[in-house]
Structures are given as structure tokens and as C-alpha cells.
């Protein structure tokens, strides 16, 4: 972690350093204090990443971090129009809705999850729970991840979800992330989801356009522990306004016989969207699926970095990311697969396809495979293409107009991803957002 851009974005860096001095007076469990200290030392040394850091090669953060940010809002409870919450709902889907406004868990706006074995809490209220103490901060490499380091040092708000052993969550937990401010705001929410042995659940996270008046930069870190034989379906639906900037780090750790499915769909709006999704398959017979769809527009920058780390034998990972690039948007796909020496009989598959709609749209696609075992099946592929003119003409020759024909072809392109979504209501919702996104 060298060659950082601290000199350019000095003020936010200084502010974070100063915030930490103030925060160190807060009484917290010893282990957490130590972890924050570790995050702080890493951040102090490394600062925010510049383009010279390999993982940030395609993203220039300077314009996004240069502002004079507040790191908290003055009001205790930020007002949120009812319509924002209503619009984020997924039609016809019965869920428990959990609302986080600027990272703060809002009990007043959230449903009560009244199922035995399922706990949903503000993250710091969970600090004394055994699951928190065991898993919090255990899986994320603070020396390699600049943003995770500063988040660890400074987070105050966020969400803790625990699904106890053998619990089957009756309905999906829908987490709404609403980020809004009247003055530039830098937020660092944190979450930890612990899924116990043989437990099952679905967590849907929606990032919505809340009509912010000022830029809101969100540095979010989520850690997910999936215990033996557990099964988690995890959805991200990422929309937002041009005022939103997201750096979103998700660290997943899986034990043997577990299944983790990540479905991600992002849409035009958010100026900067950087997703890090790291999955460690650290047990035998683990299965991980990563399905991503990014529809980008305007001058949006959408960057998906994934790491799939096969550590044990007989595991399977399957990754499919599809991009539809409009206007002058920029996309990055960087997918790393590690197959370690012990991970024999691994099946690892990765594919990234991009459909370029805008003449000035750009995409960088970079698959990386590092294989140290000798008895594995791995494949990866990457394509960048345009509309198939013959297909477009075929549709038109049957009376289908230009705009509708294009929409049909985009849906068709995205279909490989959308068809994988197990909840029909979520599938419909995402298809609807694709339609809206194409018009935008």
C-alpha cells in the first residue's frame, strides 16, 4: 500500500485522523478498540488510494474526495419523505423492511423482525454478542484495503444481522440504504451478517435515490460469515442520484458445505460506484455464485472488483457479470480467482460480457486467474460488443419499433443474469429498473 494520494486529498485525510483522536475516548470493548487502532494505523500510513495502486488503476478518486465533508449530520434523526421508502419497496414481495438513513438504523421506520433465532440490531448494540466478538473484523485485510481500514477505525453506525443455527428466515430481510444530506457528507457505515450452521436466509439491500441536495460519499464495509451447511441469498440493488458516491466493500467467508449467492444489479444515477466483493471458500464442498448486472449511463463510473479465493478442495464458484454501457459511462470489471495449492477438484468459472450502447462509453475488463493446484477446472472469458444489427432488423421487420427493439435486446442480454434471481418479484423489479434505466 504505497503511492497514495494523501497529499491531494489532505483535508479529508486530516479530518479522519482528527476524528479518530476524538473517538478514542469512547468506551468500547477492548477487542474492538484494538481493531480500530489497527485500522487507524493502516489508514494513517496508506491514506486514500491513488491511481498508482493497482486495484484503483481505473478510478481517479481525487475529484470525489476533494470536497470539504462533514462526517456526521447535525440532526439526530434525518427526515425522510415517506415516498422514498415506498418507492424502494419491491412490489408484491412480503419482506421485513429495515431502514438505514445515512447508516443509522431507524427503528422508527423499520419493521420488527419477530422470528426466533433472527436478530437485527444497530451494529454497536451488538458489540457484546458472542457472534460479533467472534467474527467482527476477522476476515477483512486492513493492510490491503484502504477504505476498509478507515471504516474500521471510524465507523459508528450500521447493521448487525444474526441468523442462529438451523433458523430458516421466514421472509426476506429488505435493507433500505437511504443516504441524503444538505451539506457534503462522508459516511462510513458498517455491517456484519452472521449466518449460523444449517441456517437459511435472504437479505436484499437496496440503495435508493433519496434526492440528496449535496454530495454524499459512502464508504461501506460489510462482512458476512456463512457457517457450515448454511445458505444465504444476498441481493444488492444499487440505484442513486448523481450526488451519491459509493465505495462498497463486501467480505464473505464461507465454511464447508455452505452456499452463498450474490446477485448484484446497478443502475444509472450514482456518480461513482465501486464494489469490492471478496469471497473466501474456506471449507470443502462450498458453492459460491456471483451474478452481476451493471447498466450505466451519463458520466457514471461503475467499477466491480471481485476476488474468489478457493482455499479447500471440491468447491465450486460461478461468476457472471454483464454490463450495459450507455452514454459516456465508464465501467470496470476486475475479477480475480485464486485456486490455492490445497484446493484440488475446484470448479471455477468466470465470465464478463459487455454491451456498448454509447459511442463514448468505455469498459475495462480484466479477468485474472492464479492457480496453484493441479487438478482443477477453471475457465474465464470476457467480451465487449455492440448491438447485433441483424437481430435489431429482425425485430423491426416484425413491426417492433426501434426503442422497444433495443429494450428487448438489452433484456435478452441481461437475461442470463436476471433468470438466476430466485425471487420472481425481485426479478420483475430489476427488469422494471432496466427499462427505466434505459429511458433515463
Amino acid at each position: 500500500m504505497e503511492n497514495t494520494a494523501t497529499q491531494i486529498i489532505n483535508s479529508l485525510y486530516d479530518q479522519c485522523i482528527a476524528d479518530f483522536e476524538v473517538r478514542s475516548n469512547t468506551a468500547e470493548p477492548e477487542a474492538l478498540t484494538a481493531l480500530r487502532q489497527k485500522g487507524f494505523q493502516n489508514f494513517k500510513k496508506a491514506g486514500f488510494p491513488s491511481n498508482k495502486v493497482e486495484d484503483w488503476k481505473y478510478v481517479n478518486l481525487t475529484p470525489f474526495l476533494k470536497e470539504s465533508f462533514a462526517t456526521a449530520t447535525e440532526e439526530e434523526l434525518v427526515e425522510v419523505p415517506e415516498s422514498v421508502i415506498k418507492n424502494a419497496a419491491i412490489p408484491h414481495l412480503d419482506v421485513w423492511t429495515i431502514v438505514l438513513v445515512n447508516g443509522v438504523f431507524r427503528k422508527d421506520l423499520s419493521d420488527t423482525v419477530n422470528q426466533e433465532g433472527v436478530f437485527v440490531l444497530p451494529i454497536l448494540e451488538a458489540a457484546s454478542r458472542p457472534a460479533f466478538q467472534k467474527h467482527f473484523g476477522t476476515y477483512t485485510d486492513l493492510a490491503k484495503n484502504h477504505f476498509a481500514a478507515v471504516n474500521t477505525a471510524l465507523f459508528r453506525d450500521g447493521l448487525f444481522i444474526e441468523i442462529k443455527n438451523n433458523a430458516i428466515v421466514e421472509k426476506p430481510i429488505h435493507v433500505l440504504h437511504i443516504n441524503t444530506a444538505n451539506e457534503p457528507l462522508f459516511l462510513q457505515p458498517r455491517s456484519l451478517y452472521v449466518v449460523g450452521v444449517s441456517a437459511n436466509g435472504s437479505i436484499i439491500e437496496s440503495f435508493v435515490n433519496a434526492g440528496a441536495n449535496a454530495n454524499v460519499f459512502v464508504n461501506n464495509v460489510a462482512e458476512i460469515f456463512v457457517a457450515e451447511n448454511a445458505n444465504l441469498h444476498h441481493y444488492y440493488i444499487q440505484a442513486g442520484s448523481e450526488k451519491n458516491r459509493y465505495v462498497h466493500h463486501t467480505e464473505v467467508y464461507q465454511q464447508q458445505n455452505s452456499v452463498y449467492n450474490n446477485y448484484k444489479a446497478s443502475f444509472p444515477g450514482t456518480s461513482l460506484l465501486r464494489n469490492n466483493l471478496n469471497i473466501a471458500l474456506d471449507g470443502e464442498n462450498v458453492e459460491s455464485h456471483l451474478y452481476g448486472l451493471y447498466l450505466s449511463g451519463g458520466h457514471q463510473l461503475v467499477d466491480n472488483h471481485t476476488i474468489v479465493d478457493h482455499r479447500k478442495p471440491h468447491c465450486q464458484s460461478n461468476e457472471l457479470y454483464k454490463g450495459v454501457m450507455k452514454d459516456e459511462s465508464t465501467g470496470v470489471f476486475n475479477g480475480k480467482i485464486f485456486v490455492r495449492k490445497d484446493a484440488q477438484k475446484t470448479n471455477a468459472f468466470q465470465q464478463n460480457n459487455n454491451l456498448m450502447l454509447g459511442r463514448k462509453a468505455v469498459v475495462d475488463s480484466k479477468p485474472q486467474l492464479e492457480i496453484f493446484a493441479d487438478d482443477v477446472k477453471c475457465s474465464h472469458g470476457s467480451t465487449v460488443g455492440q448491438f447485433n444489427a441483424d437481430a435489431l432488423f429482425y425485430l423491426k421487420s416484425r413491426g417492433i419499433g426501434e426503442e422497444k427493439a433495443r429494450a428487448l435486446l438489452v433484456h435478452a442480454f441481461a437475461f442470463d443474469v436476471t433468470e438466476k434471481i430466485p425471487l420472481a418479484e425481485v426479478q420483475d423489479h430489476i427488469n422494471h429498473l432496466i427499462e427505466e434505466g434505459l429511458k433515463a
Binding site: 447485433n388 441483424d390 437481430a391 432488423f393 429482425y394 425485430l395 423491426k396 421487420s397 416484425r398 413491426g399 417492433i400 419499433g401 426501434e402 422497444k404 427493439a405 428487448l408 435486446l409 433484456h411 435478452a412 442480454f413 441481461a414 437475461f415 442470463d416
Partner: protein
């Protein structure tokens, strides 16, 4: 219904159609035959509105309207249908969704409300039977993984659903085995009426045993050099095209 006068068209500055005339009236079936490279498929593409063809002269009217002025989708909505020589596979677009969208666009153009789900299903069933098109295929993605014969049958199925005024079948018979040819022909024959018309573009006289045309035209070097009745097709089968080439005007290139 269709009136083509002195039509000239080029691809990449190479003139392919060199002054073609054709009149098609409601209730008629016209066959257009000709050797490879004579311009048969170009004619089909130009009529359907494919954009890499440049029309450099002449006139085409369809029900009195200037066809060349219309977008491909409007031509289809006005009742022109091209059964493609090579139908495109579009994975992810379901056959049914595609057909329903197409039908409703055509209906909207003709100031009709969207088709009701029940009526659409009834029609699907009826027309599937007509062209012996397996309902399992109808439920799949558009032409994805279809055999050549299945793709051609799907074209005729779409034709049956959309009920166009003028259908152009571009070498629909090429590569079909005899069973598929019979099915396709039977479908077309059942769809023939006094109100619609067909243009069959083909290499082979065999098709015309199953779909009997009112007129046969020979296209050579971008022009229709001979027209006649179905007997002309038999003559062509027997003698080939060479005897007609003398009557063709000298090629403007070469």
C-alpha cells in the same frame, strides 16, 4: 397492392437491382426465380427496408403509399412480411413475448387495442396447429437452438400470427427436407386468400409443386427478363437459365 417501377438499388456502390418492374395484386402468388447473384435476396431486403441497401432509383408503392419512405417497422405494421432466408437467433427473447409485442405494435398502428391474453392464446394454438409448430418451441427463446427446418417453420408461424397483406418468402424452401417443405407449403396454402398476396423467392421448381404460383418471373442481372405462368418454372428446371441470358440486357459492369 405492390407496384415496383424501374427499381435500382446498390450495396457498397455496386448496383445489384438495375431497373426492376413488378406488379402484385391481392390474391396473387408470384414466384421469382433466378441464378445465384441475380438480385433475388437483395429485392427481398430492399422491400423489407434493410439499411445497408441504397435505393438509387425507381418507385415502390404498397397500397398506394411510398414504401421506400417508410421505416422497416412501419412497413411491417402496414402489412408487409419477410420470411427470412436466415432467421436470426435471439437468446433471451422469448418467442411468445416477441410475438405478442409485434402483434400489439401492428395493432396499435392500425388503431386497435392490445390483444387480450385469452384471444392471443387461442390464436397461438390455432396457428401452431396450422404449421405443425411444436408448442415447446413456441415457449423457447426466439430461434435459439432451432434446426434449420424449425426456424423456417417459425417464420411461417409468425406469418400466420401477424396476418400480413403481402408476404415475401426468401428461399424458405432451401435446405428443407420434404416433410418440412410439405408442412410449410400446406401452411402457406391455408393462409392464401383473395385479400393477401405472396412473393416466393426460390431456386427450386420443387417448391412450386406444392405452392402453385399464378406467375413466375425470372430475375437475371438485376432485372426481370422473363415472366410467365407456372410452366415457365418447369422449362427453367429443364433448360437451366442460360437460354434466357441472351435476352438479358448487357451488364453495366464487367
Amino acid at each position: 397492392m405492390l407496384s415496383i417501377k424501374n427499381l435500382k438499388a446498390s450495396v457498397d456502390d455496386k448496383e445489384i437491382l438495375k431497373g426492376l418492374d413488378l406488379e402484385v395484386k391481392a390474391g396473387e402468388v408470384h414466384a421469382i426465380m433466378g441464378p445465384n447473384g441475380s438480385g433475388k435476396s437483395t429485392l427481398a431486403s430492399v422491400l423489407a427496408g434493410k439499411d445497408n441497401y441504397e435505393v438509387t432509383g425507381g418507385q415502390v408503392t404498397f397500397d398506394g403509399k411510398d414504401l421506400m419512405d417508410m421505416s422497416p417497422e412501419d412497413r411491417a405494421r402496414a402489412g408487409l412480411f419477410l420470411a427470412f432466408q436466415y432467421p436470426v437467433e435471439i437468446p433471451g427473447v422469448s418467442n411468445i413475448n416477441f410475438l405478442k409485442t409485434a402483434m400489439n405494435e401492428v395493432r396499435a398502428y392500425n388503431n386497435l387495442p392490445p390483444i387480450e391474453a385469452k384471444e392471443f392464446l387461442r390464436m397461438m394454438k390455432e396457428k401452431q396447429k396450422l404449421v405443425e409448430f411444436d408448442s415447446a418451441l413456441a415457449n423457447r427463446s426466439l430461434n435459439e437452438g432451432f434446426s434449420g427446418g424449425e426456424k423456417k417453420r417459425n417464420e411461417i408461424f409468425q406469418l400466420a400470427m401477424l396476418e400480413p397483406k403481402l408476404s415475401i418468402l426468401d428461399e424458405t424452401d432451401s435446405g428443407l427436407d420434404i416433410d418440412a417443405l410439405r408442412i410449410v407449403s400446406r401452411g402457406v396454402n391455408k393462409l392464401r386468400s383473395g385479400k393477401n398476396a405472396f412473393i416466393l423467392i426460390t431456386h427450386y421448381q420443387r417448391l412450386l409443386e406444392y405452392i402453385v404460383p399464378d406467375y413466375v418471373h425470372v430475375l437475371y442481372n438485376g432485372q426481370i427478363v422473363k415472366s410467365g405462368t407456372k410452366e415457365l418454372a418447369l422449362e427453367l428446371e429443364e433448360k437451366g437459365y442460360d437460354w434466357l441470358k441472351e435476352s438479358a440486357p448487357a451488364a453495366s459492369f464487367h
